[in-house]
């Protein structure tokens, strides 16, 4: 079957490549763009290790969507969170609060957390539970993951020096 040319903005950079009809967004991120932070797991939408953010900063499972659907769109992967060689506040919180152990689910968990915090910067327990229920973390049991998320707002405030 003939390939199609598509373009995709990843972490702010415009990429152009040839894809098959059957390629998923996960395939192109890992194999074409070459970012391996987004992981291949269950490929059926229940483990969440393939989570990226769309252009609205919402969590999307890259394994369950065709690459061609994203022609002309923009996404953010885990590699795109840091800026000027500095970790994003949520990434730093994950390290500080021990929310990372084996690290395999971590990119997907952090992108899910980032999406959650985009929508609710100071989330309630219910919002955290709901936003993170789509990813699995066997090592932490989600406990310190939730703690890192709870502390993100406070850390951002401290960093920006703004007290509301």
């Amino acid at each position: 079957m003939a390939k199609h040319i598509m373009c995709l903005t990843v972490n702010g950079d415009l990429h152009e490549f040839a894809v098959d009809d059957t390629d998923t967004l996960l395939d192109v991120i890992r194999n074409q763009v070459g970012f391996t932070g987004t992981k291949r797991g269950c490929t059926t939408g229940s483990c969440g290790v393939c989570t990226i953010n769309n252009d609205r900063g919402e969590s999307i499972l890259a394994c369950l969507t065709h690459a061609l659907e994203w022609n002309g769109e923009a996404i953010t992967t885990i590699e795109g969170l840091e800026a000027n060689s500095e970790l994003d506040a949520i990434q730093a919180a994950f390290v500080e609060f021990g929310a990372v152990q084996c690290g395999f689910c971590t990119p997907g968990v952090i992108m899910s957390a980032k999406a959650l915090l985009n929508k609710y910067p100071n989330p309630t327990e219910e919002q955290i539970n709901e936003g993170m229920a789509g990813v699995l973390c066997r090592c932490t049991g989600h406990i310190k993951v939730k703690e890192a998320i709870r502390n993100d707002f406070r850390l951002r405030q401290a960093k920006s020096g703004v007290r509301r």
Partner: protein, 791 residues
């Protein structure tokens, strides 16, 4: 003495050093690896649970363009995954999913297509899928060499069990079963093999033990140890599931050898559930002899374990399961019989927590009910029986350190047990549990050694070389902390090189909870040797004897003198290093290091390191160390713990809501409290998951729910609050007194949650997991029984 700052490293909350690379997506796992020319391998698996392979024709697959190698049992002659288990099945397949052939192709789609072109003709044979069926007289034989389908029947007996039972006031008996599980790590099974040269095999794979993997490959392929290189990058969780080489590893190597190119084999979807080796259906009968005063005299366990199609390794670990119970109480006798039975199911082994979550769940339910019968508080019963430091165990163990009672008291007080037990509203329950776990397991293999190397760079930065994998438990950061403490520097100035057997020294691996104590001691010894080399140079520089030197806060100083770290600046001095901006401050500090009578009394660690390497003799600083347990068999150290769990049950649906778990664990010494809490979290989670959720539903030798969706593991909503108490009993063998925390808490948690549910519904739950349906079923049975009794 260091003023103004607490310079100790051990005991501080140290975020893991590989955290930044993991949160930024830089950390590489095996699926991210792509050696040049890599092919994709796929495995053809048996579709029947018991069948003779009459014909296996791969000719069409071989001719498919893009296919570079096809292998069958003929290519794998002499290659065994475990004792009698060929890597590729040739004649009779004994379980659905057994490996029959494999292909390597230029892409996955071609490999998948090639599999479809392999013609297999089966002759279906009679089969057995449950222990019951398997043991029936005249049952189909899974292995013609194993009559009666009983692989092994071992009994370990210590002390005077029968006598204790004969003389005890009361004997309690309960039967319970546990169901098949999956270790459920996030990283799916994967292996990349490069066997394109005849004298070197490179393997990339997540593992708990590069060392044992190396041995297995070397033996199978008749290579020497150094001709096998295991690269384990980062390992995405293991949970007892990555301790041995499996067929898919060998298949990747065989495909690579035949294709003369690297090959990746990635297990997808439900394939995971076929190839993992965890718990199967296990049945237990637990008898406990106890006196009216609450002293437990003896325990007698009979277990029948479903080994699946290949049950050989299973019988071995039974001994520890039984002994586990004897490590926490001063028993007169303990007996543990386990019969391993073959069935035409997936081969089974151990799960996360061995099989001790199940046994502890049974034991703690039982002890709580024994306490009720004796009108005793269960915590008091456990306290009455709990061993103390100095106790001698049934196989000659000497428990040099033990904080078990302290753990029980801490959770009792923190949870408000006395105000809750027996006083909670209906359908609320509270349960207590205790447990112990060995740190290390000599006798499991030829030796239990860890070795380490510590290199000190001219910039004062240190590298630790270790062969132990870090599969999330934080071992590498722990090793950095230990080295840093010995050398008196910050853990952030230590990098850990691991994950490549070409580079790292021997280490038996990360299992049997040996990491902290064995590898930790090896690193400690290696760092000590490096420190001695530096001490020699520092002593010359400061004009004192080596014995008068202390290492702390990035400095080496004369004992008894004071240094004020607040003016010392960073501890590396070369421009262009991490602390280049502090280099100036450092120069000034070095120049004006604390003086006494005109002689310096301290010098920065980095300066001495630099001086050594740039000396006329070029004195490199490199320490080596190794450690093995001082006892002949087993280990010399055990962790202990106690937990209390509080739950609420919905009687109409049987749902269990775990409200809170209080955890106290004696890990000897908290090298990194942050990591210990993380371990406790993950184990409370895993225990809760196994006791309340995880179950492979089976039908005729097939799992009906082999997916992350239908195989249930709790998620965010289900998690309880956890409160931690770290008890430090300062073990004489462990590095800085540390023992283990890698598997102790999970066993205890399983017991606490099970006991709490049992308390909530006032019944012994005989099946684990206690899913809502089963809890509801027990509640309904109970109500009927009560109504019947009342009538």
């Amino acid at each position: 003495m260091i003023k103004n700052i607490d310079a100790s490293v051990v005991g501080t909350r140290q975020p893991r050093l590989d955290g930044p690379e993991k949160v930024s997506g830089r950390a590489l796992f095996t699926d991210d690896v792509r050696p040049a020319g890599m092919l994709h391998g796929k495995i053809l698996r048996s579709r029947y649970k018991h069948a003779r392979i009459l014909k296996l024709d791969t000719s069409k697959a071989e001719r498919l363009p893009g296919v570079k190698a096809v292998i069958t049992a003929v290519d794998a002659t002499g290659i065994y995954a475990t004792q009698n288990e060929p890597a590729i099945c040739g004649d009779v397949t004994r379980y659905i999913g057994e490996e029959l052939a494999a292909v390597a192709a230029i892409d996955e789609a071609t490999a998948a297509k090639a599999l479809e072109l392999i013609d297999v003709e089966y002759e279906v044979l009679p089969s057995v899928t449950t222990i019951k069926e398997s043991l029936e007289p005249g049952a189909a034989q899974v292995d013609p060499g194993i009559p009666g389908n009983i692989v092994s029947d071992n009994t370990d007996s210590y002390g005077e069990t029968d006598e204790a039972f004969a003389h005890a006031d009361l004997v309690f008996e309960d039967k319970f079963v546990t169901r098949p599980t999956h270790n459920l790590f996030a990283e799916y099974h994967v292996c990349v093999a490069d066997f394109s040269r005849p004298d070197k095999l490179d393997i990339w794979t997540p593992t708990q033990t590069a060392y044992l993997f190396q041995h297995s490959f070397a033996r199978s392929f008749k290579l020497s140890l150094n001709q096998v290189r295991i690269v384990h990058l980062h390992t995405g969780g293991a949970f007892s599931g990555r301790g041995s080489v499996r067929p898919h590893h060998y298949i990747a190597a065989l495909l690579s050898r035949k294709a003369q190119r690297p090959v990746k084999v990635f297990s997808s979807g439900d394939e995971e559930f076929l190839i993992c080796r965890t718990l199967g259906d296990n049945e237990y009968k637990l008898r406990t002899a106890v006196n009216r005063d609450g002293i437990v005299k003896a325990i007698d366990v009979e277990a029948t374990l479903d080994g699946g199609g290949q049950g050989h390794a299973l019988g071995y670990f039974g001994w520890m399961v039984g002994l586990c119970m004897s490590w926490i109480m001063d028993l007169e006798g303990i007996r543990f019989r386990r019969q391993v039975v073959l069935t035409n199911q997936r081969p089974n082994y151990l799960g996360h927590g061995g099989m001790m979550i199940g046994t502890n769940a049974g034991l703690m339910q039982q002890l709580q009910r024994i306490a009720a019968t004796l009108n005793m508080d269960p915590v008091d019963l456990l306290l009455k029986n709990a061993i103390e430091a100095g106790h001698h165990g049934m196989t000659g163990e000497h428990f040099a350190s033990c904080g078990l009672k302290e753990c029980l008291e801490k959770v009792r007080d923190a949870s408000g047990w006395k105000d809750k037990y027996g006083k909670l509203p209906k359908w609320h329950g509270i349960g207590v549990s205790m447990g112990s776990m060995a740190a290390g397991a000599r006798g499991a293999f030829k030796h239990d050694t860890s070795a380490a190397m510590v290199k000190v760079g001219e910039d004062g930065l240190v590298t630790v070389y270790t062969g132990i994998p870090d599969m999330g438990q934080g071992t590498h950061t722990t090793m950095a902390i230990i080295a840093a403490e010995v050398l008196g520097i910050r853990a952030q100035n230590v990098q850990v090189v691991a994950g490549d057997t070409d580079i790292t020294p021997v280490d038996v691996g990360a299992f049997a909870q040996r990491g902290t104590i064995m590898t930790g001691n090896a690193v400690k010894n290696a760092a000590t040797e490096a420190r001695e080399q530096l001490a020699k140079n520092a002593a010359e520089y400061l004009g004192v004897a080596e014995a008068d030197l202390e290492f702390a806060g990035g400095h080496i100083y004369v004992s008894g003198s004071e240094i004020d770290l607040s003016v010392q600046g960073d501890d590396s001095i070369l421009p262009g290093t991490r602390s280049a901006k502090n280099a100036e401050a450092n120069q000034a500090a070095v120049a004006s290091s604390t003086e006494s009578d005109g002689k310096p009394t301290s010098v920065s660690f980095a300066k001495i390191a630099y001086g050594s390497l740039h000396s006329k003799e070029g004195r490199f600083v490199m320490g080596r160390g190794f450690y093995t347990t001082p006892v002949d068999f087993g280990t010399a150290a055990w962790s202990f713990g106690a937990q209390i769990a509080e739950v609420k049950v919905d009687p109409e649906t049987g749902e269990v809501n775990v409200l809170k778990v209080w955890v106290a664990h004696d890990c000897g010494r908290a090298i990194n409290p942050l990591a210990i809490e993380g371990q406790i979290d993950g184990q409370v989670y895993s225990a809760m998951s196994q006791v309340l959720y995880e179950e492979c539903e089976t039908d005729e030798g097939q799992y009906l729910n082999p997916s992350r969706l239908e195989y249930k593991m709790p998620r965010t909503y289900e998690m309880p609050d956890v409160e931690y108490f770290i008890v430090e009993s300062n073990d004489p063998y462990g590095p800085f007194g540390a023992k283990e925390v890698g598997e102790g808490p999970i066993v205890v948690a399983g017991g606490a949650i099970a006991a709490a549910v049992s308390n909530a519904i006032d019944a012994f739950l005989p099946e684990i997991p206690m899913t809502p349906y089963k809890v509801w079923r027990e509640i309904t049975k109970n109500e009927k029984r009560r109504r019947g009794e009342a009538a």
